[in-house]
Subunit: 173 residues, 8 copies
């Protein structure tokens, strides 16, 4: 990616990468220049501070941060940058990501984190694209087209269901 | 507000207005042209569809939607617009807004809602400002200044605490 | 099915079909004319609006809708039809369907959804049959007979348990 | 009420009456002949059995049952009648009705209870009306009109908000 | 078992039998005459009523009842007998038995159910034995001896741990 | 009370006394000799050990223990006595007694606690009476009579409701 | 306090001070030199980093940190100091401190926070004293004496209860 | 280990040993003399009392206790020793350790337990090391070095990610 990244996708551990891959794939699909980094609020706090403080000066427009358990990465980055931060609650082992969700979404007044569903990094990526698209008519058209593709997929499945009936459809799955 | 609104703040009922006022106040503070509407996913679904479908063509850049209980307004608007949608889980009577939170944040792939903390419409407003600011250097500076004010308030309280001691501080509260 | 459908069974995704199959099987067992469709509140919102607005004019008497996560399909259909809507909370990946349950059952005053247990589409089907049966003495007799079969199955199992004893019964399972 | 009741509204205790009043008011509004009774699954189990077994023979078409805590009344009535049963989870003291909700909605296969939101007996009443209306075109028109009234109320509030602005609106509340 | 049963162990479905086997085994270990039955509050309500009403006249001293989901069996039996009823929340598929626990333990004033841990029918059996033992000095000695065996098992494991060390102990597991 | 107590009612703090008073009143109503004590698992652990170890030798037949939060009193007493122990989860300040409930009911195999509803000490008292009554025909009759009184109260309220109608009944409350 | 502080008590906002006062009072009771500061992870992140990095070099031995909602202060300080950090989950408005608890206790491997009960800053203070006491025999004796006072208070209340009986005791409360 | 143990690691059952092994490994890594024991609050209560009462006189400085379900071991040991006690909520079968967490962390005023994340015994071990290190400059340096190793691991993973890109990194996992 030779272009200046507009979106940064950061995560606390490489064990979060399979989840966060959904955000990366979305950026790639829309051709958004992006960067990916492992950056731990708890194990590399100073690197995180430096990253967050400089992000807006490097041309980044939005930051996606994923973390699990006592998930502090999205909120701490949000406290250190004026850029919008999107938080992905990574599923946790014992509480299924409910701890991650509470730790990310329940931010105090003044420091919001735009939180998406547990484990749904794809939506974090799409939200980042939508933020960029709100100032980019061409990209907005691509978002509209993407939605139409989603609708077409549902419509095609429904037509197949009407043709086959439920029993045959289920057997094909 | 003679300018074209950039932010729409919608809610399902006028009983949500005291909560959503926090988002309105934030837009006013940053001088962001905005509009406010009562629009119910369940009681006025067709008006909601019309609003959401046209929003991006009227010049809006971001939509803030608040709702409580089985809170469908943010997600349904998100399904009908390419614009980013910020969801505010309004506190509910029996489940304290946990139902609102789940109904808003747990959106399926393809239709994200940027969710903030239960009842925290102020942060929804700030997030909207940050989205606009990521493409507006002057506004970005205002966000940075806002954060510095927040920090200064904390610092001032801490200095007062150091001067008075905890007991005297508590008595003054 | 050449007869006019009385029951519609709709779902947000074909991944919900294995769960919703329980409702289809129940309608088939009672010989109730029914239709099945994939219809997403979030991905095909306008198709959903059209379906829901016309349902009562096509002769449908009750609608069963299943969805998972931020499950808006049952409530949105309910907002657009005067017909009774039965909601099935489809189990979700991380919160086990608790998010689906809250999103479906916690509807505001004026727009009820008749909610059944998480994942229990069979009961949604039976509830639809009971609604029809309350105005159809012959069908009511069939519901009574169905209940007697359920009771007979329990009684037979108990008799087998009395004959074999618990240990032998368990070994046969 | 000289007519044969079509809807029965039963509850486990007179402490549930303020909650269940919402269902009564709804039946009155639509002119549905109905009966109201206090009937405890735990304190008068035999009276409950007798009530439930005879309900469909007395001309009742649907039963609304409300209970709190380990709320067994809706499910037990459902096990003893072929009629559709609507359950209202009455808010409980310590768990805010979550225990009531689980005890009512999580019914096993074969015995559904059509569950509405915690404390929302008004919706139970409306659901009963909708069940009757699905076989009564005139009543169906009344349901449609009721929905239009709900929509008109929201529209009027929105117009007032547009006229006054949010601050003045809030001061009038 | 030729002796009159003192303990009845009932459950709503034969799918509960693997869980309830723990209570049966405990009764067998202490030589307590007991009976086992499948008896569904929802599918065979009248058989349940008859069982519960007659239980104390047949010489039973305590009833153990297990059920899952909207678990009404223990509470309904308790409402129909003056005997103490012990409830076992059987683990449920989606809510892990939390629904079962709430449906069993949260009984209203006047109708207690002595609830044990989710899935822990062995403890229900032991509790039944302890109830009998409180009026039977010989059985009380057996309970004391049982506890000493439990303690001896823990002590033996600890001694083995001291001898082997944790690593070797883990490898032997 | 000159007679040897059969029931002990213990609690961790005098702040639990208003809750536990329900158990005391029940014992008084049935004329059961009982004793009441404040005994903290955490603040007076050795006094608790001594109490629990001697309880069965002093003629006690059952122990009722109430505690809140990390509620260890019922389980620890149960570990030190062969007598049946009934646990009352006392409502807690922040988690509404859910922590108390989990800490009391989720006991491991071998050491059951017969748990009642959150805050429902009256039912703990009644359960203790039922345990005694299972070996005392006269007391069993009193339990049956008590149940009949409960039923009569419900029946009387229902008759009043039939006479007055719901509106007038509500106004009299 | 002229002595070098051994314990720091920090909190995210002065609204946490009434809760955190419990920790301050405990330090004062044991004569432990301590300092108190308002220090927000989200509003003054750089001041927090500086505080945490230097804490062990200033002679501090343990840090108590309290925060509510998405409570990042304890965990972030823990990530920046080798000293033990004690976390106090401050009760939150909508989720009663459950969000605070999860955000503080569910820390990843390598960065523990010693978490106490929701709102229980007194115990955080006592835990800090116990940490110091484990290397200070005189202080350890004071902890033992403190525990004896707690026990004596319970014993005195119990004796009063034995003297007055429960009814009179309750009336005096 | 010929040296006097400074840390005791105790657990209620050998089924907890795989979880608690994390604390043992941590002590071994830092060369802290420690002892390990199986000690059940419920099955060997008197052995637990003796252990806890003598712990501080045998030279122990901190106790780590792990338990699951109604987890009373950490709190009961804390009630019997002036030493700091660290509690590990062991994951439970049905409630995923939420019952363990509540039973350990929600201790009453006067008897704190320093609670770590569900199943995270490694952090309990590290917290014990940090407590010792706060009075041992050499050990404090080792804690600092340990943190630097953690940071270096994250940094190395990030560098590998920068080199390989996300897709290749994921394929190597």
């Amino acid at each position: 990616m030779s272009e200046t990244p507009l979106v940064a996708i950061v995560m606390g551990s490489d064990s979060d990468l399979p989840t966060m891959q959904g955000a990366i794939a979305l950026c790639e699909r829309f051709g958004i220049p992006h960067e990916v980094a492992i950056l731990s609020a708890h194990r590399t706090p100073l690197a995180m501070v430096e990253f967050a403080q400089n992000a807006h000066q490097r041309g980044l427009k939005v930051i996606i941060a994923g973390a699990g358990g006592a998930a502090h990465l999205p909120g701490m980055i949000a406290s250190l940058t004026p850029l919008p931060v999107i938080g992905v609650p990574v599923p946790s082992r014992h509480l299924q990501g409910l701890d991650s969700l509470y730790s990310i979404v329940q931010m105090p007044a003044g420091i919001p984190v735009a939180t998406v569903a547990i484990g749904n990094a794809q939506n974090a990526g799409l939200l980042a694209v939508q933020l960029l698209a709100s100032h980019n008519p061409e990209l907005l058209e691509q978002v509209i087209a993407y939605r139409q593709e989603l609708a077409a997929t549902v419509t095609a499945k429904n037509q197949k269901l009407q043709t086959l009936g439920a029993s045959a459809y289920l057997q094909q799955q």
